[in-house]
């Protein structure tokens, strides 16, 4: 069984994209491959220019967003996309765009941030996830 962690990234808010970068880093550190599938708002968050401009936060915690943002700025926490890029530079991290969402939004591979490797169908993602040990939904 390949030592692989798969993630379905459905959410596009920054508070959920941080765990994507952090967990990918941890997995790479522990010698795992990482298989990321971006769908719906998760894919929207990877459109060209979005990783840099996105400031969306979970509405349930809207009142805490300014405090969190300030704390992270003071602590000089790197942007979530940098964490994911670092993980990709360090190990085997594949970032797949969901073909269904891409078709709905009329988007092609070149419309996404360069960290996105390809546009794939859910069948391919699921079969890759099935061979691995851990799959999560974010």
């Amino acid at each position: 069984m390949p030592n692989r962690l798969s993630m379905v990234v459905f959410s596009g808010t920054v508070d959920r994209l941080y765990p994507v970068g952090i967990i990918a880093s941890g997995a790479v550190a522990m010698g795992m491959e990482v298989n990321v599938f971006l769908t719906f708002w998760g894919l929207e968050a990877f459109r060209k220019g979005r990783p840099e401009s996105n400031q969306k936060m979970d509405m349930n915690y809207a009142e805490m967003a300014p405090m969190m943002g300030q704390a992270m700025m003071q602590a000089k926490v790197p942007p979530w996309i940098e964490l994911l890029k670092q993980a990709k530079a360090m190990g085997n991290v594949k970032v797949h765009a969901c073909a269904m969402t891409a078709d709905l939004l009329h988007l092609k591979k070149e419309d996404f941030d360069p960290i996105v490797d390809d546009v794939v169908g859910v069948g391919e993602f699921v079969s890759e996830a099935r061979d691995g040990e851990v799959t999560m939904f974010i």
Binding site: I22, S25, A29, M90
Partner: protein
């Protein structure tokens, strides 16, 4: 401090203080990759996660944690690259 006297001199010190989980661990892995077998690396971390993550990774990756010392506001990890 008797423990530090027997600790080999580090080839390189990675000061990751102020970096959050998993920053110090990632910095260590990067430094290990650039190092030669037999090199001794020292990592300084103020992140709480490092305390467990770094020894775990060092063991899993087949290196040796030579020393772990608490300093004021951070932890010092001394690692021998073994492979």
């Amino acid at each position: 401090m008797a423990a530090t006297e027997v600790t080999p001199l580090p080839t390189r010190v990675v000061d990751a203080r102020g970096s959050f989980c998993p920053g110090p661990l990632m910095a260590l892995i990067g430094a290990i990759r650039e190092a030669k077998v037999g090199d001794v690396l020292e990592v300084w971390s103020s992140d709480q996660g490092s305390r467990r993550d770094i020894p775990f990774w060092v063991n899993k990756a087949g290196h040796e944690l030579v020393a772990l010392a608490d300093e004021a506001g951070y932890t010092r990890f001394v690692i021998l690259k073994k492979r």
